[in-house]
Symmetry: C2
Subunit: 212 residues, 2 copies
């Protein structure tokens, strides 16, 4: 039984994939049961934080027993929507776009790349693995015809908003944005950003202040 998901804070949501990853590690090591105290040692959150986080989704632990690792892993997977598959397209067939399209781990988790798109006519028609690069002008139609869920924007910043506008016109559901800008989208469109420069600059901040 989940609380209204609108009430769950982004901080909690962002911790869920980490639980998922650590529970998978435990399963791989044949650990089937774990207390929130032990889980806390492994994952680095406090036991009370863990109990609080999981209570958002109805809690899973049993007093005196702890957590059933397998059940918790499945349940968090479901909460994350990983019991479904998603059709994706990658826009921008440069180095980063190709790396993302090539990264088979995403496909194993249910995110299946159906096509790439680029504005460079020299790239159109080429294939990365089995994934063909299409002309960006056909992207709206492709999304509709193939019922694409997620558009992954790997273009330079200046192109990203107009690409997003096209994806939205094609009725995309979510955007995974690697371009270094904040997109303007209607409320019903979900956007998740990976701003690599911001992460790198955070590192340089920490380096600078570490050396003081």
């Amino acid at each position: 039984m989940e609380k209204d998901s609108a009430k769950i804070s982004m901080a909690v949501i962002r911790r869920l994939p980490k639980y998922h990853r650590y529970l998978k590690d435990l399963l791989d090591r044949n650990i089937t049961r774990i207390s929130s105290k032990e889980l806390s040692k492994v994952i680095g959150f406090t036991a009370s934080q863990i109990r609080q986080d999981l209570n958002n989704f109805g809690g899973f632990g049993q007093q005196g027993y702890g957590y059933n690792v397998d059940a918790l892993y499945d349940e968090i997977g479901k909460i994350l929507g990983l019991d479904k598959t998603y059709s994706t397209i990658v826009i921008g067939a440069g180095n980063l776009g190709q790396a993302i399209a090539n990264y088979t781990n995403f496909e194993k988790s249910g995110f299946v790349p159906k096509a790439m798109f680029d504005m460079n006519p020299k790239l159109v028609g080429l294939k990365i693995r089995d994934i063909e690069i299409h002309d960006i002008d056909t992207v709206e139609k492709f999304i509709q015809e193939h019922n694409i869920d997620i558009g992954i924007i790997c273009t330079p910043g200046p192109q990203a908003q107009s690409v997003a506008d096209r994806l939205i016109k094609g009725r995309i559901k979510g955007i995974w944005n690697f371009a270094p800008i904040d997109l303007t989208v209607p409320d019903e469109i979900v956007v998740e950003n990976v701003h690599l420069s911001e992460s790198l600059f955070t590192l340089s901040f920490l380096l600078r202040h570490n050396q003081l």
Copy 2:
């Protein structure tokens, strides 16, 4: 005048690159002066949030004048350590590693890739742009001889910890980690993670709950 940087929360630190980016946009549009209210409209943080954030670093605004965009941009750049250059190496010459090494925007910001490393002998000796791929066994020596600041780990998860151990042995200062694990490192080593799967799973959570 900055406060003790140890007291500045990670949340504030993570907002600084965003200020930096938006201030650059303003400069590009020849806007030289801005009130915290106007800046708030552009960047999407509240005006009081902005004043509070910048007060951590001595504040920059003047009552009734607002912020001098140029000076604030420079100052935040310095706080982020972007007035220096950093030597970097990329470990793992697969698609993602190549994309990162190829991304010239990082170099423009002062992060200069000096070499790549891989364990695959077929890749050793090849070049990406002018960046040569070396044997991973030589990484400790390379770091010391070239005074490398940042190691960028783009290996699969299972190799990442042993790579990190080598970087630390070579006296690296910071690690930008793209591998899907949490590294164990001594306190004096700065680590910044980019966990792509966690970002993608956050998107699928938001998609799933958006559709309810």
